[in-house]
Symmetry: C2
Subunit: 243 residues, 2 copies
């Protein structure tokens, strides 16, 4: 007989960061409860990937919640704003990207907190990364720490001495390190999607910020990206040294 | 010409607490952006009241967001659990009520935060009350303070020096004080709904915790509740003295 494993709520977007995060959680001995959001993305590729990944990773349950961020508007991921293409890594890493969605991780983590309490789980995993997306305020360690403190005061479980921990295994990793760890843990990256602007058939553009960061990550990890691309940049600039 | 007023996002449930909160915000000189949630309530009376209240209070906009908390289950307000009737005030005030919805205020405030950022508003009003509903962990001042800290780190506006303030004008008031303030500010309480278990026609039961607290509040405020009730308790116990 297997012992009962602890449960973890894992935010699963369909991208390679959240896929690797889920694999890390599984490797740490958790049963996975995968949570995805249908928030009016312009493409559905991500959600189809999330479904395949949840099965691939052996999740006990996968909930896809519809949430309507379009009512508040103003983001490339939910509005009809042009996704920038072919930017330099310097441009990508400066400032807050136009793909910023107001309070997105706060909304995602709030739902994860609700589900964790119902499941009697004390562990939430989220694949935020403070390096490649330094422009997102809600991907920084200080934000995550503040959410954890708030969560301990927000719920019956927290008040009764069973606070939730927000795990962010990827937070200080480079994209290359994330890809290496995912590969090591057996993640099938052919099931992931990163592109902000894929074709209707789901083919990645190869030119948006997300594609460029992904392709550079695979190049630096010395691995082949199994995804097809509409086009690929001829040369990927080396990642600047980290302070 | 009128000067432009600052904008406030106000969580409006349709109950008398949030109606009074909105009136307080308006009285402080804010333009109101009312936010309600359709979270699979067993009755729709609340949302019809929220719509009427938003008009009554002169809100600039009223957004009703569908959010599906039933996917996580386990609460009298969203599941088919029997609403307790005819409890004593001692019972009502002990422990966490079965109407507790996991992480509800965290989810509500997360959406309010997203809308505030889009509106370029720095003010969110929520009608939480730490006295009559002491059992809800997410109605306490320490929870609200922790949410505010987290919010300052969560958004572009917060990072750029325009953090959001969470206003909780009612947090230390008795139900009687809330009713007195609402009356003073011209709130039409006939447009509010408090009952956990109204008839299909919207008539309050007069016996659930929310009806009992409301009826006692009106009695103590020396005011007449304009709502019809299916039945009313013959005697309302006096409110115990506060420490």
């Amino acid at each position: 007989m297997n012992q009962t494993k602890p449960k973890a709520v894992v935010l699963l977007s369909g991208g390679l960061d959240s896929a690797t995060t889920a694999a890390v959680a599984r490797n740490q001995g958790f049963d996975l409860y995968a949570l995805s959001f249908d928030y009016g993305q312009r493409h559905r590729v991500e959600l189809r990937c999330a479904e395949k990944l949840a099965r691939h990773l052996g999740a006990q349950e996968h909930v896809i919640l519809p949430i309507d961020l379009r009512r508040f508007g103003r983001s490339a991921l939910t509005d009809q704003i042009e996704v920038p293409k072919g930017r330099s890594f310097e441009q990508i890493e400066q400032g807050i990207p136009i793909t910023y969605v107001p309070a997105r991780n706060t909304i995602f983590l709030a739902y994860a907190l609700a589900w964790a309490e119902v499941l009697e789980s004390q562990d939430i995993f989220i694949g935020v990364n403070a390096l490649d997306y330094s422009g997102y305020p809600d991907c920084r360690p200080e934000y995550i720490a503040a959410f954890e403190k708030m969560a301990a005061l927000a719920t019956k479980a927290g008040v009764e001495g069973r606070p939730v921990r927000i795990h962010t295994p990827l937070i200080h990793w480079t994209k290359a390190q994330i890809i290496q760890k995912g590969a090591e843990l057996g993640v099938d990256f052919a099931l992931t999607s990163s592109c902000y602007d894929p074709s209707p058939q789901g083919v990645a553009c190869g030119a948006c910020d997300a594609c460029l960061l992904r392709l550079r990550g695979f190049a630096q990890a010395g691995l082949e990206d199994p995804l097809p691309y509409a086009s690929k940049p001829t040369q990927l600039a080396p990642q600047p040294p980290r302070p």
